[in-house]
């Protein structure tokens, strides 16, 4: 993957000279500032953050799914793959971003590699658990109905695993949105950028900190709700009781 070169953004220092009374007092929520900088700071950061999350969870899901198929089909590999995914998760995120910086440079690739690595932990476990959770008598019936191994997987095991798999996707998405903010300490990209700008000023710029953090939280909760709706749409049979 060729990483996108990023322009380094400087810290945004509020212009106290002609600022509103709210900004002069470093208020927690100065609506005027939000209005003024939605277009040049907040909205671009939000869009960058959405892009990071979608790409990271997408790639993470593809890798985790392939690994889960291996771990599910050949039990022997399950424990080692799980252990590797676990140890990746134990590496602190800031250190991982910092260590990749000399290798992949100031690019989105440097942000994406750790994000993808962290999704594997949740996704791998949940996909395997979902496939494992299909009751034995259901598999027995499938065999009794004359389904082949492949048909059983696509028509029985995979659909029944959807709730657990989607649970993993939800957790992975929400935590990716949170972890992605940390990368901005090194690479000025995503919603972490305004957060670190606000923290870097001599007095923490409260409005920017609060608004950027709130956007990250709202993005996470919105993504979670949308994925929950997708899960319900994919498993219509769970609604019939």
């Amino acid at each position: 993957m060729t990483g996108l070169r990023l322009a380094g953004g400087g810290p945004v220092i509020p212009n106290y000279g002609k600022a509103s009374a709210c900004l002069k007092h470093n208020g927690w929520f100065c609506i005027g500032w939000v209005h003024q900088h939605w277009g040049d700071i907040l909205q671009p950061a939000l869009i960058q953050h959405i892009k990071l999350t979608v790409i990271a969870v997408g790639i993470g899901f593809a890798i985790a799914f392939a690994l889960a198929l291996v771990g599910f089909r050949w039990r022997f590999f399950n424990a080692p793959i799980g252990a590797v995914a676990d140890s990746l998760y134990a590496l602190p995120s800031i250190a991982l971003f910092e260590l990749l910086l000399p290798v992949t440079g100031i690019t989105t690739t440097t942000i994406l590699i750790p994000l993808v690595a962290y999704t594997l932990f949740v996704l791998y476990r949940n996909i395997v658990a979902g496939l494992d959770g299909v009751p034995a008598d259901v598999l027995e019936s499938a065999r009794g109905m004359g389904l082949t191994r492949r048909q059983t997987f696509f028509r029985v095991e995979l659909p029944l695993a959807v709730p657990t798999i989607m649970g993993g996707v939800r957790v992975a998405t929400v935590s990716t949105i949170a972890i992605a903010t940390i990368a901005a300490d090194l690479i000025h990209y995503g919603l972490g950028a305004p957060i670190f700008d606000a923290l870097g000023l001599p007095d923490i710029f409260r409005t920017e900190l609060v608004v950027a953090s709130a956007l990250a939280i709202l993005l996470a909760l919105t993504a979670d709700t949308l994925l929950a709706a997708l899960q319900r749409a994919l498993t219509p049979w769970t609604r019939i009781r």
């Binding site: 134990a90 602190p92 800031i94 910092e98 260590l99 929400v174 957060i195 923290l199 953090s213 939280i217």
Partner: protein, 217 residues
Amino acid sequence: MLTSLFVNALRFIPDNAHLLLQKTLELAELAFTALGISMLIALPLGLWLGHRHRGLFVALSVSSVGRALPSIALIGFFIAILGVGFWNIQIALVVIGLPPILTNTFFAIEGIDSDVVEAARGMGLTETQILTRVELPLGLPLIVAGIRIAAVFVIATATIAGLVGGGGLGDIIVNEAAYGLAGVLAAALCVSAVALLANALLGFAQRAASRRMAPSA
């Protein structure tokens, strides 16, 4: 280049053993104090809510909001209010550690077969006895799983506290200028070691709890 970095990091560990040990202990102090406080709050609350079958909405929303909170924003927020200090970082860490314990404890107790609880009540056990002798042992594996998730989260977040001068191994990780990449990697390996150790110990406790609860045929 990567190989030499690893070699240098592995050399950094014995050369700076004293510094790393001290920073590791600082990190452990930050993380395990916060984990202890989270348990003190979340365990009784989760047990009580689960026993009364109340607060499903609270348990669910605490867990999803808790995961959605970006830790750096949370730490920054408390620093903006309170300034940098051990207890201010503790508050942020407790906010991170509390949700998984609360949610898991709630669902561990809430999800226990109501027939079992009814049987215990029929045998004349008081509500406290039901909680401590029936529900707590049955729910223990899931409760320990929640503590395990919280431990990993809190250790990771305690490292991020280094970004704002919070102490611990994070201090080394964010100060590449002073310690070099080898130092960063060495400190990161120490954090992983603490996280993996906590994870392994609690995983062991979780398996022990499940084994004890498995029906003996």
